[in-house]
């Protein structure tokens, strides 16, 4: 059923009794050309691109819980392509371009809002680092502006400019950056992929891999039986190591908890997405009115999906330092997601040493913005058995070769990325 204001109006007359399921409710078939493990944004996007771009629609997406129950539904909804290193820059811009057409692609309003993302700087050294990054972006055809203090004051007069411990000096702005409605991205891909014949199977947990005599993966064992597959793609960020272990693989990944927070809904206060450069704090305001904010990971391996107080306090300290007007705004909810923290802070999209098994992992805390791009390049890899040119550096063997993509420059210490 096509969605529009007209279909809504028509439905209103019938008391909304005629709406159908957003995605089909199906039982798993015996065999698919491609089985994707993980019904998050990346898995569903991969399925949609397989069907829409690569003509492969005999595809199942297996989700152990309900779709979008992992990080797709726990993130802070930011989209941007302001990366500085080869490998990341082109890929995230590919993703950004796909965001810009997502609603029309999917016939689903994912509320992509290009309200601007600004990274504030507080020192000459930070300014220089952002200048380097912004110039990289421009050289790659991505919009970037280096704002001075006056421009930041004009754009965000509510920041603490007067008595700050680390005064704001300026910022790197990507106007095309912004936010999108995270759940809608999941539902939109599910809706569109399902319409193209993709089977979305919830409450279906993968418990192992079927392998043939050569060791090739031929399918997956699940809580709903064995499902055969020509190829199996993993898109289970947060659980990558656990699923990979079923195939005997060890990954350059640690699982860490990242907390996020939302305030009570208030009338529009913050126009864009901001990151504080002198503390761990970033924020945007949702269309519903809540300030959505976060900071650093808690810093220790965790699968618990919940965090502790020191980080919560640290984040709020950053928020108050940056804009003391939020002191009386109340924090409404606190939650945590499991991040696939890779050893260089960048993702991995590649074949694995196991035939027939493909990996999409290591998104650290940046997976949401990558959703459409990740879907496209992973679909490309699954369909063509070759790396997409914009994801050619996300290889699994880059660590062994020494070709890390380390934006932060902190090395093989995941909790510092």
């Amino acid at each position: 059923m096509r969605y529009s204001i007209f279909s809504l109006a028509r439905a209103a007359f019938s008391g909304h009794k005629n709406w159908q399921r957003t995605w089909r409710d199906v039982s798993p078939k015996d065999h698919y050309d491609v089985v994707i493990i993980g019904g998050g944004g990346h898995g569903l996007a991969t399925a949609w691109f397989l069907a829409s771009e690569y003509g492969i629609s005999n595809v199942a997406v297996l989700e152990k819980g309900w779709i979008g129950s992992g990080n797709a539904g726990r993130n802070t909804t930011i989209i941007r392509s302001n990366y500085g290193l080869p490998g990341n820059t082109g890929f995230y811009e590919l993703s950004m371009k796909l965001w810009e057409r997502m609603e029309q692609d999917l016939n689903y309003n994912t509320m992509v809002s290009q309200r601007g993302v600004i990274n504030l700087y507080h020192s000459d050294a930070q300014r220089d680092a952002y200048a380097r990054r912004g110039n990289t972006m421009r050289i790659n055809g991505i919009d970037a502006e280096l704002l001075d203090l006056a421009a930041v004051k004009k754009m965000m007069p509510f920041l603490n400019f007067d008595n700050a411990r680390f005064p704001v000096q300026g910022g790197l702005l990507q106007r095309r950056g912004g936010t999108a409605r995270h759940d809608a991205v999941v539902w939109g891909y599910a809706h569109a992929a399902s319409a193209l014949g993709v089977d979305i199977i919830q409450n279906c947990e993968v418990t192992g891999f079927s392998r043939d005599a050569t060791g090739r993966v031929t399918g997956v064992e699940t809580s709903r039986g064995t499902i055969g597959a020509g190829k199996v793609g993993m898109a289970v960020a947060g659980s990558s190591s656990r699923v990979a272990a079923m195939a005997g693989l060890r990954l350059p990944i640690e699982s860490h908890v990242l907390q996020a927070f939302v305030s009570e809904a208030i009338k529009p206060l913050i126009p864009n997405v901001m990151t504080f450069g002198a503390g761990h704090f970033y924020v945007s305001q949702s269309d519903k009115g809540g300030l959505v904010f976060g900071g650093d990971i808690d810093g220790y391996n965790s699968y618990a999906q919940r965090g502790n107080m020191p980080v919560m306090e640290d984040v709020c300290e950053g928020g108050m330092a940056l804009m003391p007007m939020i002191g009386r705004v109340r924090l409404l909810r606190q939650w945590g997601g499991i991040m696939d923290m890779s050893m260089d802070g960048s993702p991995i999209i590649d074949r694995t040493p196991v035939d027939g098994l493909y990996l999409n992992a290591g998104w650290c805390y940046g997976g949401f913005k990558a959703t459409p791009g990740s879907g496209l390049v992973f679909a490309h890899l699954l369909a063509r058995d070759e790396l997409h040119k914009e994801a050619a550096r996300f290889r699994l063997d880059r660590f062994r070769r020494g070709a890390m993509i380390d934006e932060k420059g902190v090395g093989a210490q995941p909790n510092l990325h």
Binding site: Y3, N109, R132, I266, L269, G289, N308, G318, M325, G411
Partner: protein, 993 residues
């Protein structure tokens, strides 16, 4: 003109009639009493309409009397103290309180946004996902701004919060949430057992439901029992009662979060006091006696002002002497709802009728009805007639199928009680369904936590007391306190009979989540569209995501979902419960850490002297460092820095470098230890000598650099960069304790012990001779380049001298004990006057290091190897060291790596900027020919032009090549020449001279 309080009873209640207070709501002045909440005072003044809903802007009244309130949200206070979304039901009244309704325009009574109700048939759950997609550009320009303005609730202040907050720690054996009968009984038992007890109560009064419902405990009225209990608890030295304090979260290891509203009951905090305090409470055991929340029944018109929870209705009557209605109707499915009838009658109010969903109303209740002259109807309320002025009439579907109508101005609703399962579920434990009370009760509580009383599904007063007491005693005992807990308080148990009823089907909007305008029909739609999982339901309809966190709506919502999807309620399950239990001000989480106190500040030993000189300071990590020392008449910082550099290169200057990390490395294996952490060798360094060292991370990238001196056979003095002082210390301790425990070495940070200054320039020795004991020989022969030793200073103090140079000049670094640092600079100034001694800041320091081609922070960026920095030859091939193997990986040895090289503009007048990229000359910039970037730049007074360092592909093989500096961000493009990074004195003759 202050209105009278028409709906205030003449006597009774827990308000202080001798303390009248004035307040304003939406600009109108009212009167109330000490002991009121804003809600109770509004009720006493006959105000029924207090807010508008989120989506449809429907008129709303007060629903509850506690922190579960979804409707009565106001903007409290004004100006910078304005607090949006404040629950009138928990806001304590104070004299002069100002509140305004929110989310309405232009006024609460005449809210034009209520036009949304006309489109209600379109604005169903999730409608926005299906439209607003065309044209694509319209989202940011048209649709989204309109939605954002319409959404949201109250307005934040928009100005810096003028109040202060702080944070504190507390420790106890037994932490108790709630001061109702279970909580107080738990405190008694634990306290008597000798436990250290903290009891948190969110209300300003202690007693919980006893405050409104009374009862008899130990043969005395509940109020008397409460005051006796509090008196006994006050005699126990380690029992601490914290009212106005909400326990909002439970974290690992028995750490709990609580928010104390220290001064929210006053217009503004007294001087030196905070508004709120965040508590981190560490408790061995926790008893959750947080009570239960009465749940609504979903029926058409259930959001009309004047429809109120039955327990809230009697709270207002009994506790506040405020009457929400004159002629009350009750809609109940359980026995407890009838208590509201008793309370109302006791206060002299009329009962219009009782609609009881249960067929078997007790004879006692029927007798009461007969006596008081009201009807008891077996059936359901199916409609409400009324509007913003309140309820006028209710329609009833009688059990037999007939309909009835009853005129009333206030409908009390009781759908049963839900235990407050928040705290017990915050570690992702899922509450379990208990059939006899048709409610979820705690299960899977965090370690050390136990629920008691109503929070545990025990609704009888006697049971609450028994459970609370037992839980308190058990908690004390498991915390190792086994004193005599004495006898538990005793009370009878009321009958509890309930017939589950969630939703009365019928025409008209029936609200589940009042604040977010989620109706029963929305839930049915969500199910139809496949959003059956409760988490999907929540996200698709926004059920339970409002400021009340669904305290009144979640269970009803999932019960309706269970019904339409043909599952049981426990099969349907609950969503994940997430802290905080009540919304908490962000300012409280930040506490003292805002403005200049966001982070601590570190000052160097010469800071106050530098401030006296008018130095401009720069933040370097937590340090304040002198960036330059302006003099009168200098037009800008550049002029100042040029003067400082010239003074050093032509005479002598000094700079405080105390911020460098300093580590004493002691022990017989100190040399062997350093050999393993540095790429070069230190075990063969002679005593009295210094050496530059480079450390890698285990992944082969450069970690840090610095100079390390050997002061004795078994004592090295290691320095780190300012930025890495802490991390390097941690890394070295890891090497000492974990990687190389067999080495006999000891590490101590001495960063703060020594005031360290670089003294540089051709007249350095002249200046030092003024300071150093004449017996010390500073000649090149006696104290050559890279010499390091202790010396005596004139006037009798000891110091350390290091013949090292960052500037490229003849230079020493001198260390004195930190409390002499101030005296040292003053002595240097005095003694150096004859040589024109000049203090210089970090900027001049940076200029001279670039002139000299020394790498620093911008080049040591964590992605460069020793070879990239031109220091590959330092890597010893004769020993193992951290990072050696990984540094050899193929991509790190690749020919096309970006390496450090010098740059200078071909146009000597051209200013350079860091962050510009390097592109081959004549090519159009693109990802394929982006060959590097400029890392550090300065104006070199020595060369009289801007120079810099850059990381450029094969840079060292391209010396002399003209390349293009491309800086689109700043709109600059210019040619630069790649050159030797050592611009100044490449032979090093000056520093060795």
């Amino acid at each position: 003109m202050i209105t009278s309080q028409p709906n205030r009873l003449a006597s009774g209640g827990l308000i202080d009639r001798s303390a009248p207070l004035n307040f304003r709501f939406d600009g109108k002045t009212f009167a109330g009493f000490q002991g009121d909440t804003l809600a109770s005072a509004l009720i006493a003044n006959g105000v029924k309409l207090v807010g508008r809903s989120f989506k449809y802007h429907r008129p709303r009244g007060i629903l509850t009397a506690g922190s579960e309130e979804p409707n009565a949200l106001v903007e409290l206070r004004t100006g910078a103290r304005r607090e949006p979304n404040t629950k009138a039901t928990t806001a304590e009244l104070y004299d002069g309180l100002e509140a305004a309704s929110q989310n309405r325009w232009p006024s609460l009574r005449h809210d034009l946004m209520a036009v949304n109700q006309l489109f209600a048939s379109i604005f169903v759950a999730g409608f926005y996902y299906k439209t607003f997609m065309w044209p694509a550009k319209f989202w940011e320009a048209v649709y989204e701004p309109a939605i954002r303005r319409a959404a949201g609730l109250g307005r934040a202040a928009g100005a810096a919060d003028p109040d202060h907050y702080d944070k504190a720690w507390a420790h106890c054996d037994v932490l108790i949430a709630g001061s109702g009968p279970a909580g107080l009984a738990a405190a008694l038992a634990a306290g008597r057992s000798g436990a250290r007890v903290i009891l948190c109560e969110e209300d300003f009064l202690l007693g919980g439901r006893l405050l409104a419902d009374g009862g008899t405990i130990d043969g005395m009225p509940a109020a008397e029992w409460v005051s006796r209990t509090l008196a006994e608890l006050a005699t126990l030295p380690d029992v601490r009662i914290m009212n106005r304090t909400t326990l909002f979260g439970v974290y690992d290891g028995g750490t709990y979060g609580a928010i104390e509203r220290v001064n929210d009951h006053l217009p503004s905090p007294p001087e030196h006091q905070v508004r709120q305090r965040l508590w981190r409470i560490v408790a061995k055991r926790c008893v959750v006696a947080a009570g239960a929340i009465e749940r609504p029944i979903v029926f058409a018109g259930n959001d009309t002002p004047g429809v109120m929870m039955a327990s809230a209705m009697r709270t207002y009557v009994a506790r506040y002497s405020a009457t929400p209605a004159k002629r009350i109707a009750l809609f109940t499915n359980n026995e407890d709802g009838w208590r509201t009838v008793e309370a109302a009658l006791g206060a002299g109010l009329q009962i219009a009728a009782v609609v009881d969903a249960r067929p078997d109303v007790s004879a006692a209740h029927r007798a009461l009805a007969a006596k008081a002259g009201f009807a008891v109807l077996n059936g359901f309320v199916s409609g409400v007639d009324g509007g913003k002025d309140g309820v006028k009439k209710i329609s009833i579907s009688l059990a037999g199928g007939a309909r009835a109508e009853v005129e009333t101005d206030g409908l009390a609703v009781s759908g049963g009680w839900n235990p407050a399962v928040g705290l017990t579920s915050y570690h992702r434990g899922r509450p379990k369904w208990q059939d006899d009370i048709s409610a979820f009760v705690p299960d899977g509580a965090p370690p050390g936590m136990e629920a008691a009383g109503a929070a545990n599904g025990a609704f009888g007063l006697g049971a609450c007391l028994r459970q609370g007491f037992a839980a308190g005693a058990a908690a004390a005992q498991s915390a190792g306190r086994d004193g005599n807990a004495g006898a538990p308080p005793v009370a009878d148990d009321e009958a509890f009979s309930l017939t589950p009823l969630w939703h009365v089907a019928g025409k008209g909007k029936a609200f589940v989540d009042y604040q977010h305008d989620v109706t029963a029909a929305d839930i049915e739609l969500a199910q139809r569209e496949g959003f059956e999982s409760v988490e999907h339901l929540k996200r698709y309809t926004t059920l339970g995501m409002a400021t009340d966190q669904g305290k009144t709506s979640n269970v009803a919502g999932l019960a309706i979902m269970a019904a339409v999807s043909g599952k049981s309620i426990p099969e349907t399950g609950t969503t994940i419960y997430r802290p905080p239990y009540v919304p908490v001000a962000i300012g409280a989480f930040a506490g003292q850490h805002r403005d200049e106190n966001f982070h601590a500040t570190r000052l160097t030993p010469s800071h106050h002297w530098a401030a006296e000189q008018g130095a401009v300071f720069v933040d370097t990590g937590l340090w304040k460092r002198a960036q330059w020392y302006p003099r009168a008449g200098e037009k800008d910082w550049l002029e100042t820095v040029i003067r400082e550099v010239k003074a050093v290169r032509g005479g002598v200057g000094f700079c405080d470098v105390s911020t460098l990390g300093k580590i004493d490395v002691h022990g017989p294996d100190a040399g062997a230890f350093l050999d393993r952490v540095y790429i070069n060798t230190f075990s063969n360094l002679a005593v009295g000598k210094a050496r530059y060292g480079l450390m890698l991370r285990e992944d082969g990238m450069v970690y840090d650099d610095g100079t390390t001196s050997r002061l004795a056979e078994d004592h090295y003095f290691l320095t780190t960069t300012t930025a890495k002082a802490g991390p390097v210390m941690q890394h070295l301790e890891f090497c000492r304790q974990v990687l190389f425990p067999e080495l006999n070495v000891q590490l101590t940070s001495v960063s703060d012990q020594w005031a360290q200054f670089s003294i540089a320039g051709p007249k350095t020795r002249d200046l030092l001779r003024e300071i150093v004991d004449p017996a010390e020989d500073l000649s090149n022969e006696a104290f050559p380049f890279m010499g390091a030793r202790k010396v005596s200073l004139r006037g009798g103090i000891g110091a350390r001298l290091f013949r090292i140079s960052f500037s490229g000049e003849m230079a020493f670094e001198i260390s004195v004990p930190a409390r002499y640092g101030d005296a040292l600079v003053r002595n240097l100034m005095l003694a150096g006057k004859q040589f024109g001694v000049t203090p210089y800041g970090t900027e001049a320091l940076g200029v001279m290091r670039i002139e000299k081609g020394h790498v620093a922070g911008p080049e040591l960026n964590g992605t460069t190897t020793a070879a990239d920095l031109g220091l590959g030859k330092m890597m010893s091939t004769r020993k193992d060291f951290i990072g050696r193997v990984m540094a050899g990986r193929e991509a790190l040895a690749a020919r096309d790596r970006q390496v450090v090289v010098g740059i200078k503009a071909t146009d000597s007048a051209r200013r350079l900027r860091s962050g510009a990229h390097v592109i081959p000359k004549g090519e159009i910039p693109g990802p394929a020919n982006d060959q590097g970037y400029i890392t550090s730049v300065c104006f070199s007074p020595t060369l009289d032009q801007w120079i810099g360092l850059a990381l450029v592909e094969r840079g060292r093989d391209r010396i002399g090549e003209i390349v293009h500096a491309h800086d689109p961000l700043r709109g600059e493009d210019y040619d630069v020449e790649l050159c030797n990074p050592v611009f100044y004195d490449p032979d090093g003759g000056r520093q060795r001279g």
